[in-house]
Symmetry: C2
Subunit: 401 residues, 2 copies
Amino acid sequence: MGTAVKGKAVIGQSGGPTPVINQSLAGVIEEARKNSPIASLWGALHGIKGMLEGDYVDLLGESPDRLRRVAETPGAALGSVRFKPKKKHVEQLFESFRKRDIRYFFYIGGNDSAETAHIVNQVAKDADYELRIFHIPKTVDNDLLENDHCPGYGSAARYVASAVMGNDLDCRALPGVKIDIIMGRHAGFLTAASVLGRTRPDDGPHLVYVPEKVFDTEQFKKDVAAVVSKLGRCFVAASEGVEDAEGNPIGAQEGVKDSHGNVQLSGSGALGDYLADLARDELGEKTRVRSDTYGYAQRSFPGFASPVDATEAREAGRWAVRYAMAGDIDGSVSIRRVSDSPYEVDYPLVELANVAAGTKKLPEDYIDPDGNNVLETYKDYALPFVGELPTAERLAMKRAE
Amino acid sequence: MGTAVKGKAVIGQSGGPTPVINQSLAGVIEEARKNSPIASLWGALHGIKGMLEGDYVDLLGESPDRLRRVAETPGAALGSVRFKPKKKHVEQLFESFRKRDIRYFFYIGGNDSAETAHIVNQVAKDADYELRIFHIPKTVDNDLLENDHCPGYGSAARYVASAVMGNDLDCRALPGVKIDIIMGRHAGFLTAASVLGRTRPDDGPHLVYVPEKVFDTEQFKKDVAAVVSKLGRCFVAASEGVEDAEGNPIGAQEGVKDSHGNVQLSGSGALGDYLADLARDELGEKTRVRSDTYGYAQRSFPGFASPVDATEAREAGRWAVRYAMAGDIDGSVSIRRVSDSPYEVDYPLVELANVAAGTKKLPEDYIDPDGNNVLETYKDYALPFVGELPTAERLAMKRAE
């Protein structure tokens, strides 16, 4: 620890955008304005790529009013990047920082970004150059270690929960089997959010499949048939990343192919189509079966962010600057739940290496032992930061004859 | 014309639900409560199906508070149906109405529903039985004749415009080609809504393809390449119903198949995948190309209805009852624009047969002569009933070096 050094600061955004990643950017800018050691704050266009190419914009000159509106805009205002730097890139980056007297490096992103920050950090330390490096968490997948939950997840979860509510109402109106595929290759958090709007015993989703559990196609058919036989319809939410016992993505082995003959999975409707075919096989062609694959709207739908998520993302940005000013040298700002009731979090600084080390899975406690549903206990975890959902009311349905 | 007869009224909902179809139901119930000739109002479960099976619920007993919440809930509260009745069904239906002394028949739906109402009407007239039949328009496709626009479209358009805004921001953050497929097999109205959030010259969608124009795959590739060369990225909005010069759905002829070997189009991601492959062919594998196929969220997303659309849907329901009470025998409630500024509509009663007769297309005036975009003039038409959209702000982007 030491007091704050005078110098330039740079900030970048990395990985898939979220509805609140610009809140974190705004938080850093706001807090940097208050702190004189930060002589200027440069935004790198498209993250590490902009840093390597010297592509920077001035951020301290942004008007507060514009910044408020930018903060409420989904997508990464500075541009984002998917790029894992190699050793030579990190050295280039460090040299460019040293040349420009850059002393602060803020990086908003997922665990890859935490790892990048961690590596840059090592190089700076080896060169005995004082560079303060702070990672600000962001991911709709909610899979960062050391965090109760991640900025971005609450808003994406609010979209997913709402979209599922609407789709379930549609499926009630025109009954049949509906299968909705939700983002999350390795962690089932976003798919779990599908249950947040479930308030009545016959509300969907009736079946929920996450990558944490082996997906068995024969069991799936039986599950769907059982729900249809009970309720006359069945709403299924499944993660794009569901796999069989051998770790193969579901649908791939059956040869669902695009027009080039390539096996396609995520980013296409193939998994949904495949599961729909399984349901048709089981229930016959007379059953109405439909599938939807939720796309990038999950991480980008505007005007629908969770207010709590927006506040937390903003705070995470502010805390990164506060830690830097307090003399911390490096770390990742995290979200820790301090109290459930009333809901309260704080933002401790944790080791970059710990966040970079891996990814978090949906805890077993939230998954039905049968592997085909998410339990109500998950709602206690998520609703406080997902916030209020639209309501869905039904008619009293008093029989007329 | 004659004064209102005493008797029972029935109401049903038909076809694909919308976010405001329950507003029309609530409008009918509210207005029926005020009018003593309507002794009781029965809701048929799943439209004509419930009427044929005598499956009714009492609606006048619904509490106003519950009804307010039902009105704001997407999906069809009574259940919907996709069922085109044959002559024998219509006769059965009429007999069941006569047996129960049903004198009013309100049917909320698209042009198929108007046609059903029209046929039932003929049978009643032939039998000299006074049955007052009113169709209340509803369709996210906006393709009903005799209407300036249709209840349901404004809310679906608001969802599409917003989803496109978010997706375009995502595509700006991680540049490449993004192709979003939007509902509309025969009419391009919903796809046209993709341009509503476009406010800056480089905002997407940069290319818009509707079923009203022949889709040429070679021209598509050139169009995309031209935009990428100018902007470094390209955002495409395309209707699920685009066709080639011979009227074949795009993608089908290239053998995009599901796991059963069946050619799949709508309801799958096949068209988006196919267009993405065309873009990759043209631009090379290094270009990031993604596609999304918007699903039933377009017609069911909760908590996001256009307030104007909600009001108009409610009014359309109220007017159906008012016309019935005023002594009109039959007709379809329509929306007519009386004034552009200030925006004002009224709800004239039009002939059932005229609404049943066909479907409306997106007017040529709104389509770029090159066939690859929707013109700004469309916004003047749609924005008044779509209502306010989320805002998207950018940083001032003052270069730092």
